[in-house]
Amino acid sequence: MGMGRRVNVIGVGMTKFQKPGASDEYNVMAVKAARAALEDAKIEYKDVQSAYCGYVYGDSTCGQRSVYELGLTGIPIFNVNNNCSTGSTALMLAAQAIAGGLYECVLALGFEKMEKGALGSKFTDRTNPLEWQANLMSKVQGFSSAPPAAQMFGGAGREYRWKYGTKRETFAKVSAKARKHAANNPYALFNQPLTVEEILASDEVFDPLTRFQCCPPTCGAAAAILCSDDFAKKHGISKPVWIAAQHMTTDFDSSFKEDSMIKMVGFDMAKDCAKKVYEEAGLGPEDVQVIELHDCFTTNEVLTYEALGLCKEGEAEKLIEDGDNTYGGKWVTNPSGGLLSKGHPLGATGLAQCTELVWQLRGTADKRQVPNAKVALQHNLGLGGACVVTMYRVD
């Protein structure tokens, strides 16, 4: 993000994530999350000077329709869409507004009302934004009838297995861990633990992915209140969680030119983004205790360990076997249950990750609390593409 004023996260909130059909309307969910964040920050809506609203599925200005219920104060409201990284893109715009001195207090809000079934294209009468990705995939592995996202991330998993001989069980273990974590998260969609065997035995979606290794379509909302130091001081907020560094990357040449599914699904985006964050924060992965990362499919969590530098490339299997991704290990990844178990309402995910990490750094994550959490890392990725990595600290 570069130099600027310090950005504090003084309030967070989210709804319990629900399966499609069982949720409230998007505006109802959005308002619930925003109210929770405002209450958490102990400020009033009139203090909010601008709002950044992320969602993927919906006509234009769903942001206004939602935020208006909090008050009609005439503030600037931005509607944000960046595929699966929509939530953290809204968060980043909000943080930039504070860092750049534009506003003192802003709201970042993400919500999504999803349909049942796998992600698909809504506009079939125009150029598909994922055309380049689809063409690359078609070239490398053909096009099957499986859900496209599963083909892409599953294909990356195939390539990873080819390179490193990874066992199928390794991917399944990621999902079992996510379920275990989610069992302690009342906001998660799936609280029921699953064994590695059950995960492997579920229907195959796209080898090596089985059904329980794919995040479900989800409805939900999450929000964060960001402010400047001055604002925090004025409102008597001491030692808030703050953003130590934040970056976004989009695709590089390697996504399309190397005939690599791993690269196509954003490995280099994530790697470069994390590198910039570590450099700016002056901290490395070894300084981090807790991570929320983009486990849309188990294969992507495995890839992301390496992209974030938690281990060398090809060593994720050992990291998993050593338990360095859960309580008692070097890091706890996705204590919330992640996208796999908490759910993945596209627009809300980035802010739900933020919410979890703020709770973790405050030490208020209840049964999920990661001991001594002082530095947290967030990774949110969208195909198309954009990757946002954020580091949070608490003093």
Partner: protein
């Protein structure tokens, strides 16, 4: 026509302060009616009140010179509103119940207040106003009453449970008032206005709400309220220019006979009939509604049980079946029933030697094709509905066979069977199937009645049927007796005529059925007996044979001696019975044969049926229909700018795709395409029916035969198709056909030559037969054919390759005329020459076109087979080529894996280093075969799976692809090879190439 005036009349219009009510009031007042303008002045959801709204309308009316008075009461105080009319003008002629409010909310969130408020305003209010006026109208012998319902009530609408309830409630209310008021000239009608409401305003675009002005509704109301209108009890949808009347439509439905339990299963079974609107009625009152039920009260079930449903089965006609026989069938049958046991007996030789000068069919052969038809249908599961017993339950009880004339030496027969009788015999039941067999000219040749005894299927208290014994031998010694030994192998011979039941051949099977050894077919004994009678009483000339009737009383074992005792009862009737000599048992009883006095002659030949049934050739094909549409667009230059949308028609069976572009330029119609604003999917036949005006698009859509996706609203704009002048259309089609382009590729192509659709089916077949073609070629091709236009994609890049109709992108695009394409495929035109002559245009990856050389490898014989199969399956039209080919199962190919693995073994033996470099054990699973490749030492291959570091699973085709040089990684990434265990082992398996 004189104006419809309302001078002297007094109308009450409720809710007349705004919208529809205001419009009704203004229109009536303008035409001389005095109007009570009622409006509470409340909000749309029922809150508040004010006099402003009503006052404003009254002022408007008065300003225009009319008479009106305001009333501000709620319709719940209906009497006060009516009183206003009576106080002011001392009469009330017209009541227009229009006031209404909305309390829209999903049923989940609805409160009792929401429900009750809507009820009170719409229903109770309507009741109170009307009730107060009713007494006056009854006395005055005049009244016109309007209720306002809504589409929401008729069809339902999300979030309007309360409103829908009230609105349809009013329809019922009005229907009864119409009946009660009719005698006193009080006419009551209901309108369902389609006008801009709060709901529609937010949902529909502005141009639509603009079209839904109240002024488009009021004229109907005015007419219905006029003294000259006699309509009553009607329901009308009105608005946006549409005036239409609704009525109920009811399927003919299923009428179950009474007197038996009607089960949910029967309802389920009849569901398609119960819901079939192709046969329907429009009951207009309770009497008509009850009609079919009253008629059914007289019906009585014939009974039945789990095995037999007499109501359903009795009288059922099975679908006609076809078969043929020739001399060989006749002689085999004759041998089967013992003819020719003495090969020197000339009398019998004529049954078994087709070159004999008096060669003749044994008349009892007449039972064979008919019974075979029943067996075959039974085997296919095609029994008459209502007969739910298995083969194991039935015994052939009696047989009657009648010949209309002597059987010709060969014939093609059509059999029509019907369940003639069903008798309840107590423990069992008897089902009589009547089968009439017709010859090629449609003349009846044989009539059979097969009586089967169904064990354990009786007892429903039904008719026992005729019980008197017929054909009982007289009380005297037989007039003649024939004794003949049945060969021990007789059943083995007889079964070849069709009845292959193992009971007659398999000793073990027979024992399982309680017989010491296989028994003879009853119909074999039947044939023996008939032969005996003919020999004795028919001058040994089978051509006099008329009929035979027998009862099968007991079993015969091959090898026993059959004694046929005969009594001549009249000039042409011989009663007989058969006994087994060794056991003195009657095996055929109650039997008789009748003879003709003269040999019946064959009827004169009918005129060939084929000529009469010449196919109507007039109907345009879909390609022609699109040519007509193209012509219409060309004739109507501004159509594109009016419509502004693109449409893609995806037709199926045969598949084709067509794009109508009414957005760009002056519009166009092109074959192919895969994107458009609005996509319509339907069958080719339905499309043609639609264009010919024989099928209603709306109906096709509701029946789910037409699928519309994308911009569904745009499909409305296709209404221009209705404007096409049929005359002009016929001219276009005629011109096309005359030009020889053959816009009907399927129908018009010369009989022998494949159409382009068929040619592509042949190519598809070739690709299926050559699994590795796709991996060798690795390109996609789009053929754009013209005149008639069609597009075809040959994909030899993805998966195992495919050929599909339509498409608009490919690595290599080839454009040429349909005729040139067919010539090219038939080897009559050189592609190179077509190209230099610019008749073939190639774009995109031009080099890829070289790879189409594989087309030359197609075996012409195989191609003809494919075409023949297509035509055979598709009837006269070869057009369904594409779909037929798609569903035709590919012939199973022998697995090549064993040979490849064997070659691998040889290769490893020659170069042991290939194995040692791998240093691991690998399971190779190919289809249903598996091998363990031990590559730890010199390399050894054993059958079956074992402990291994990795397991490769694939299909035979994929192993062939590997052997042909495809990389294992590519196949793995494509999911064609599955690797379990350590995938890295696969990196080293580089020894496949060249193993085939």
């Amino acid at each position: 026509m004189s104006d419809l005036r309302f001078d002297g009349r007094v109308a009450i219009v409720t809710g007349a302060g705004n919208g529809l009510g205001r419009s009704h009031a203004l229109l009536l007042a303008k035409r001389g009616c005095k109007v009570v303008v009622n409006d509470l002045g409340g909000s749309a959801t029922g809150g508040g009140r004010s006099s402003a709204a009503a006052d404003k309308v009254v002022a408007e009316i008065k300003a225009a010179g009319g008479e009106a008075v305001a009333n501000y009461d709620s319709v719940e105080d209906g009497a006060k509103i009516v009183q206003t009319a009576l106080d002011t003008w001392k009469r009330v002629d017209i009541v227009i119940n229009n006031a209404g409010i909305l309390r829209d909310t999903s049923f989940k969130k609805i409160t009792e207040e929401d429900w009750d408020l809507i009820y009170r305003v719409h229903v109770l209010g309507g009741y109170r106003v009307t009730k107060a006026a009713w007494d006056y109208m009854q006395e005055a012998n005049y009244g016109r009453i309007i209720f306002t319902a809504s589409a929401a009530g008729i069809y339902g609408n999300f979030g309007q449970a309360n409103y829908s309830m009230a609105k349809l409630g009013l329809v019922g209310f009005a229907n009864t008032l119409a009946i009660e008021g009719k005698k006193r000239n009080i006419l009551v009608n209901t309108i369902a206005p389609i006008a801009g409401s709060r709901l529609t305003e937010t949902v529909l675009p502005k141009n639509i709400t603009d079209a839904l002005k109240p002024e488009y509704v009021s004229p109907l109301v005015a007419w219905l309220c006029h003294e000259s209108c006699e309509e009553t009890g009607g329901l009308f949808e009105v608005g946006g220019g549409l005036f239409t009347k609704l009525r109920w439509e009811r399927t003919e439905g299923k009428l179950f006979k009474l007197g038996r339990d009607i089960t949910p299963e029967q309802v389920k079974k009849s569901w398609s009939v119960i819901t079939d609107f192709s046969k329907s009625t429009h009951p207009a009152n309770v009497t008509e509604s009850m009609g079919p039920i009253l008629g059914n009260l007289e019906s009585k079930s014939l009974g039945g049980n789990e095995f037999i449903d007499v109501d359903t089965a009795l009288g059922y006609e099975l679908p006609p079946q076809h078969s043929s026989y020739d001399e060989k069938d006749l002689t085999l049958y004759a041998l089967g029933v013992g003819a020719g046991q003495n090969p020197l007996d000339k009398d019998e030789l004529k049954y078994v030697y087709e070159n004999a000068s008096d060669f003749a069919a044994l008349p009892t052969f007449g039972v064979v094709p008919a019974l075979q038809m029943i067996f075959d249908m039974y085997k296919r599961g095609e029994t008459a509905p209502g007969l739910n017993y298995g083969f194991e339950r039935i015994l052939h009880g009696e047989q009657y066979t009648e010949l209309k004339r002597p059987l010709p030496p060969r014939a093609k027969l059509t059999h029509k069977a019907k369940i003639k009788d069903i008798w309840d015999k107590g423990k069992g039941a008897v089902v009589v199937t009547a089968i009439t067999s017709y010859d090629e000219d449609g003349n009846e040749l044989v009539y059979n009645e097969v009586s089967t005894y169904v064990r354990g299927a009786g007892g429903w208290g039904g008719d026992r049927g005729p019980s008197t014994d017929v054909n009982v031998p007289p009380d005297r010694a037989p007039d003649a007796t024939v004794e003949e030994k049945i060969s021990p192998s007789q059943a083995l011979l007889y079964r070849l005529s069709g009845d292959i039941n193992p009971l007659h051949v398999d000793p073990g099977f027979a024992q399982a059925f309680g017989f010491d050894k296989p028994i003879l077919h009853g119909l074999c004994t039947f044939g023996f007996a008939a032969r005996h009678v003919i020999k004795t009483f028919s001058k040994n000339d089978p051509r006099y044979f008329k009929s035979i009737k027998v009862r099968f009383s007991d079993s015969v074992f091959p090898g026993e001696t059959l004694v046929t005792e005969m009594w001549k009862e009249s000039g042409n009737k011989i009663v007989f019975r058969c006994k087994v000599k060794e056991r003195d048992k009657v095996v055929i009883s109650n039997a008789a044969i009748e003879l003709y006095d003269e040999i019946p002659k064959a009827p004169a030949k009918k005129a060939p049926a084929a000529a009469a049934a010449a196919a109507p050739s007039g109907e345009p094909t879909s390609a022609e229909a699109f040519a007509v549409i193209r012509d219409f667009i060309e004739q109507n230059g501004n159509l594109a700018s009016e419509v502004g949308k693109t449409f893609l028609f995806k037709l199926t069976n045969p598949d084709s795709a067509w794009t109508i572009d009414l957005k760009n330029g002056k519009g166009s119609v092109t074959a192919g395409g895969d994107k458009a604003d609005c996509v319509l999917e339907l069958s080719d036949a339905d499309f043609r029916a639609m264009v010919a005006g024989k099928a209603d698009p709306m109906k096709l859509w509701t029946e789910k035969k037409l699928k519309i996706s994308g911009d569904v609203m745009a499909s409305q704009k296709l209404m221009f198709l209705k404007k096409i002048d049929p005359k002009r259309a016929m001219e276009v089609v005629a011109k096309l056909r005359a030009s020889g382009g053959g816009a009907a590729p399927a129908a018009a192509a010369p009989s022998g030559e494949p159409t382009s659709a068929e040619a592509f089916a042949v190519i598809r077949d070739f690709i299926e037969q050559n699994g590795n073609l796709a991996s060798e070629v690795g390109k996609t091709f789009l053929f754009k054919l013209t005149n008639p236009d069609s597009a075809w994609t040959i994909d030899l890049k993805n998966g195992k390759g495919s050929v599909t109709a339509g498409g608009d992108k490919a690595d290599c695009v080839l454009e040429l005329s349909d005729a040139d394409f067919r010539a090219m495929v038939a080897g009559k035109a050189d592609p190179m020459k077509l190209w230099t002559e610019k008749k073939l245009k190639i774009s995109g990856d031009v080099m890829a076109s070289q790879k189409l050389m594989f087309l030359k490898k197609i075996d012409p014989k195989r191609a003809m087979e494919v075409v023949a199969k297509l035509r055979g399956s598709g009837g006269a039209s070869a057009a369904p080529a594409a779909s037929a080919a798609a569903s035709a199962p590919a012939a199973p190919k022998p697995a090549q894996a064993p040979a490849i693995v064997k070659a691998l073994g040889e290769r490893l033996a020659k170069s042991p280093a290939l194995a040692s470099e791998v240093g691991a054990k690998v399971n190779l699973v190919v289809g249903s075969n598996a091998w363990l490749l031990d590559l730890t030492g010199k390399g050894a291959i054993s059958e079956g799976k074992g402990d291994a570091q990795a397991t490769l699973t694939m299909e035979d085709d994929d192993l062939v692809a590997l052997a042909k040089g495809e990389s294992l990684r590519t196949l793995y990434m494509h999911g064609r090879v599955r690797v379990d265990g350590d995938v890295r082992v696969a990196h080293k398996l580089n020894f496949w190439k060249g193993l085939v």
